[in-house]
């Protein structure tokens, strides 16, 4: 696990049709120590996905620096695992081969990467689905595979952009419980983007509130772990903190 550090990061999009520049992010600075879980929340269009896409190396940044373990980011790389809202599983690969894809790219032999993949699938309770194709799975199962695929590649930092936004409410809570458990077991460094405030608070050590391209607030979450929804739904400290963050987001 490594630290993730954003220093005076900015992003200006050029609108081809209007022929004008549009600044989506100004001067974002954010430090995520190794093994910390940080959620970023904010109203639609405030630049959450833009941050994640720059950290992942999918789009270039306009100013400032992105450092992973002190090294500047240049393009996508396997040190930063990404979990997508649309799951982005390879439809032509079985679940096992999807999870084994990262190790395969590293040249790990078939038998060994199958073993790695099975171990990670077991962690998410997906052993029975190893030989199925993604389109044969429910949305919740597909996203479990998405998370496990990123983890099996042992990234230094895990990046997630609204990973649970396209599954139903029941499944979402189960997935949040599972992600929380997995984080507690393995302590990856996580940058988690969401617009769901309770989700952000439930999962994170810190919640960063974004507003119109800058950081509005950085709220620590001192709620003890392990965290499970069964205990936290009725927890006063949790509810109070969620309301506080929600108020910040609505003022943003």
């Amino acid at each position: 696990m490594k630290t993730l550090s954003l220093q005076n990061l900015s992003k200006t999009y050029y609108d081809l049709y209007e022929g004008s520049h549009h600044t989506a992010l100004h001067d974002i600075s954010l430090d995520i120590p190794a093994g910390e879980f940080v959620s970023v929340v904010g109203p639609s269009g405030c630049g959450k996905s833009t941050i994640l896409n720059m950290v992942a190396g999918f789009i270039p940044h306009s100013g400032g620096e992105i450092l992973v373990g002190g090294q500047p980011v240049k393009g996508p790389g396997r040190d930063r695992g990404v979990v997508f809202q649309s799951f982005a599983l390879f439809p032509w690969k079985t679940v096992l081969d999807n999870v084994g894809f990262g190790p395969k790219m590293r040249g790990v032999p078939k038998a060994e990467r199958d073993e790695i993949a099975r171990e990670y699938l077991a962690m998410a309770g997906l052993s029975h689905a190893a030989d199925r194709y993604p389109n044969e799975l429910s949305g919740g199962m597909q996203q479990r595979v998405g998370v496990v695929r990123a983890l099996a590649n042992k990234p230094d930092v895990l990046l997630m952009d609204e990973p649970f936004a396209s599954v139903d409410a029941q499944t979402r809570m189960t997935l949040q419980d599972e992600l929380s458990r997995i984080w507690e077991e393995r302590r990856p460094t996580v940058l988690f983007i969401t617009h769901d405030v309770p989700e952000a608070v439930f999962l994170a050590n810190r919640v960063v509130v974004l507003s119109k391209g800058h950081v509005l607030a950085d709220v620590p979450v001192p709620i003890e772990r392990p965290r499970v929804w069964d205990k936290l739904v009725e927890d006063d400290a949790f509810k109070e903190l969620s309301n506080k963050v929600l108020a910040l987001v609505r003022s943003a």
Binding site: F58, G77, G81, A88, F90, P91, F101, G102, M105, N153
Partner: protein
């Protein structure tokens, strides 16, 4: 009504067991109509042969070995042409689909040459290469290549950007993205392109055989015209239809379904 029900269920069961029945049944009225018109006697048999004349002619040509030889000539030309068309069309389609620059440079040219239909090349091809194999090879490759290019480009573009990004984040270098993401993602479209290309190519080949051929089904039909054998012409037409049906329904369509459907890329 109820009396017909067991009959209907018998038909459903047997036709499911023998799919060939399902294919053949629609032709029963066609053949009956044909026979009826022939026995009506308004046209002389030399002009309008009856079904049995054609069947007899089929027997003779099979016995003499002419039909099998011509058939294998035509089919092997189609297969060779398709192979070359794919070998050129798929890489070109990948290039155009993946590279903005290649698209800008090549697309107008591709469209221009596609507009000049295969047969429109024949006059100049005959001057360049004469009557024969080279000319036919050119025509069939030319016909197959465009649907393959267009569908490959379409297939490459249909691969979602998230899949490229996911592969990159998992550490895939560009050439592995090509083999692990772009090619399989484009495969159902490539097969569709091949299916269309072979369909056009088959027709173009028969036309080319008529004009420049010295063997093959197209040649056989045109030669029969010279000899005034309508029966043989009709036989050639029927062979064309049956052969294409077999290739398309039994070979190409199942491949197309097997790729797309299994992965949920098509319904």
């Amino acid at each position: 009504m109820n009396a017909l029900l067991p009959l209907w269920s018998f038909w459903v069961r047997t036709s499911r067991q023998w799919p060939v029945l399902q294919t053949l049944t629609p032709f029963v009225p066609v053949v009956l109509l044909w026979q009826a018109v022939a026995s009506w006697g308004a046209f002389p048999p030399a002009f309008f042969p009856a079904p049995m004349d054609v069947v007899r002619n089929f027997g003779t040509l099979m016995y003499k070995g002419i039909l099998p030889e011509y058939l294998s000539d035509s089919v092997s030309r189609l297969v060779a042409g398709a192979a070359v068309g794919m070998a050129l069309g798929i890489p070109l389609g990948l290039l155009i689909g993946l590279s903005r620059r290649a698209y800008v440079a090549l697309w107008p040219v591709v469209l221009f040459f596609q507009a000049i239909g295969d047969i429109a090349w024949l006059p100049i091809l005959i001057i360049w290469f004469g009557f024969g194999l080279t000319t036919m090879a050119f025509v069939i490759v030319y016909t197959v290549i465009f649907p393959v290019i267009f569908n490959t480009v379409l297939g490459v573009r249909s691969v979602k950007i998230e899949l490229h990004r996911a592969a990159q984040s998992l550490g895939a270098p560009p050439w592995r993205i090509l083999t692990e993401v772009v090619l399989p993602g484009a495969l159902p479209n490539i097969v569709t392109g091949l299916r269309n290309g072979l369909g056009y190519g088959w027709r173009a080949l028969i036309a080319a055989e008529m004009i420049v051929g010295t063997s093959g089904i197209g040649f056989m039909m045109f030669d029969a015209r010279r000899a005034g054998s309508v029966t043989e012409i009709v036989l050639g037409m029927i062979v064309l239809g049956i052969l294409w049906y077999i290739v398309d329904a039994w070979v190409l369509a199942p491949i197309e379904r097997a790729t797309g459907r299994r992965w949920g890329l098509t319904q």
